[in-house]
Amino acid sequence: MNTKKLTRLSLLTALALIIFIVEAQLPPIAPIPGIKMGLANIITLVALYMYGPKEAFTVLFLRIILGNMFSGQVSALMYSAAGGVFCFAVMCALYKILPRDLIWVVSVFGAIAHVTAQVFVAALITETPAVFWYLPLLLVSAVITGAFTGLCAYYCLKRWNK
C-alpha cells in the first residue's frame, strides 16, 4: 500500500466519520426508527469505485466502529454493523455488473439491503416480529435516500477522478 493510497483512504475514513457523526446529531427526518439519510454511504461508494471492495470495506468497518463509539451509541452498533455489512455485500456484487453511470441504482439496492438487515436484527433482538411491518415504509425511504446518496457519490467521483 503506497503512501498516497494510505493517505487517501485515511482521508476518506475521516470524512465518513465526520458525515456520520454530524448526521447522528441532526434531528431525524421521520419519526420512525431506522429512517435516516445514510450520507456516510457516499464515502463507502466512492472508496468502492476508486479502490475496490477490500479498501472500501476497511473504510466502512472503521467508520461504523469509531462512529458508534464517538456518538455514544454503542447499543446501536449491532444494527449499524448488520445493516452496513449486508449493504456492502450487495453493493460489491452489483458494482461490477452495472455501468458506472448507474451508481445510484447500486446505492438504492445497498440501502434496501441495509434496512432489511436492520429490521431482521431489530426483530431478533427485541423478539417482536411486528417490527417487520416497518419494512414497507423503510423500503420507500431506502429508495429515496439511496438514490440521493448514489447521485452524490456519482458527482464526487466525477470531480475527483475526472
Binding site: 447522528a24 431525524p28 419519526p31 420512525i32 426508527p33 456518538s71 455514544g72 451509541q73 447499543s75 446501536a76 444494527y79 455501468p99 453511470d101 448507474l102 445510484w104 441504482v105 438504492v108 431489530a122 433482538i125 427485541t126 423478539e127 417482536t128 411486528a130 417490527v131 411491518w133 416497518y134 419494512l135 414497507p136 415504509l137 423500503l139 420507500v140 429508495v143 438514490a147
Partner: protein, 128 residues
Amino acid sequence: MLKSNIKWVLIFALLCVLCITLHIVHTKGKSGKLAVIKKDGETVKTIDLSAVSEPYEIRIESDNGYNIIYVEKGKISIKDADCPDRLCVKQGTIENGAYPIVCLPHRVTVSIEKADGEVDAVSGGGAE
C-alpha cells in the same frame, strides 16, 4: 444510458407504490386493546387498554436508561426517554396493532395485541 436510468426509476417507483399500498392495507382495520411492553424480548407488562380509566405512567428502567410510558384509555405512547435519538418519543401515540413503538437503544418495544385469555393467577393450579 438515459434509457436504462428511466427503466430503473420505473422499477423503484413501482416498488414504492407497492410498499405504500401494503402499508395502507396493513394500517387499516387494525384493532386491539392489549398493550404489551417488552424489554430485551421479555414481556415486562401487559395492559388492557380498554380498561384504563385514568391515564398513568410506567417507568421502564434498562441498563442504557429509562423510558416513561404513558397509558391512556385505548392508547399508549412513550412520553419521555433518555435514549440518544428519542425516536420512540417522537413516534407518538399508537392505538392499534399496526406498528409497535420501538426504542432500539434500550431494547424496549410497546405493541398492541388482541386481548386474549391471559390470566393473572390460576385457581386449582398449585402444587398440593
